[in-house]
Symmetry: C2
Subunit: 190 residues, 2 copies
């Protein structure tokens, strides 16, 4: 077995950094209160040294039962997952777990807003995709259809998020559009 | 230093169990989607054994930057902390960190609902206390006043939560009252 120091900065890091940075900006400006949830860990053994901080000596990663981000924006409950892929032509649905999909459905049924921020990292393009679209594609897979979403589908149903300096991923304007027209109407508009 | 297996069930456990149990009940009935956030941990070293799960070998507890629970109820963003005290006559405000108070303020400013569930464990009494009351008492302390809230103050401004079997701590009816009359009016009603 190999013992490694934790290296942040692998798969998915850049998008997560951009989202966290954007949320910090929103928080500091009073625009929204959205936080990333801590990584769920099952703690097995803790060492309590005298006169210093407790050290966790044995713990395991647990599967998250919800999505990574949630919070409040203009009184609305917001809930989302951020996912990155190196694929150029499609986004694999195996990036989600069934319980994350179920959680997003529960959120929508309770009147919250669930969505996913998807980045095609090689193309450097980021899209905000409504939960309804994700459920549709998930359903298609469960009915024997393709196990991924094509790049074209995501560009058609998703909303392109411009990358900038401050904030890096200004996604709230897309939410504003949705709040004004609660039922997703992008397709019918076109 | 002493190495100990993690013992759940110390200080504060019973209230947390009751709240988690209640939230599971709400989730299963489609009444609300409220989850406890994972304990924040700073991971330093991970062992990747061949053919078995990654083991966290060194990690430290981090201070939470938000409250423990949040979610969505009837489209509303809900955010709260659950705290237990063995004191009989007062609840010490040192149970909160400044950043938790600030987080609750940010939530309220964004139109969310922030509150605290406080249990006097020796009396076996549990109260739901609106963020406004907590801010008022926190402010009093910061202006040189008492560092705790008296039991009488909590019974006067808080809402008694009946304990039952299923769910154990049915707190949503109190939220319903608040949603019908957004400005806290308990005092003026009396
Ligand atoms: Mg994730
Ligand atoms: Mg806590």
């Amino acid at each position: 077995s190999k013992i490694k120091p934790v290296s942040y900065g692998k798969r998915g890091m850049t998008l997560e950094e951009d989202v966290n940075d954007t949320n910090n900006y929103y928080l500091s400006r009073g625009l929204a209160v959205i936080h990333k949830k801590p990584t769920p860990v099952q703690i097995v053994q803790v060492d309590y040294p005298k006169r210093s901080a407790a050290v966790i000596k044995e713990a395991y990663f647990k599967q998250a039962s919800t999505t990574d981000y949630n919070g409040v924006y203009k009184s609305h409950y917001i809930d989302f997952e951020a996912k990155e892929t190196k694929n150029k032509t499609s986004f694999p649905l195996q990036n989600f777990h069934l319980h994350q999909i179920n959680h997003m459905k529960q959120v929508m049924e309770q009147g919250g807003l669930a969505f996913v921020i998807i980045r095609f990292s090689t193309k450097e393009e980021t899209y905000l995709v409504h939960g309804h679209s994700i459920f549709k594609w998930w359903n298609r897979m469960e009915c024997g259809g393709r196990k991924s979403v094509t790049y074209e589908e995501i560009t058609k149903e998703g909303y392109f998020i411009k990358t900038g300096l401050t904030p890096r991923l200004h996604y709230l304007p897309i939410i504003d559009q949705w709040l004004l027209q609660p039922v997703l109407q992008k397709e019918s508009e076109e």
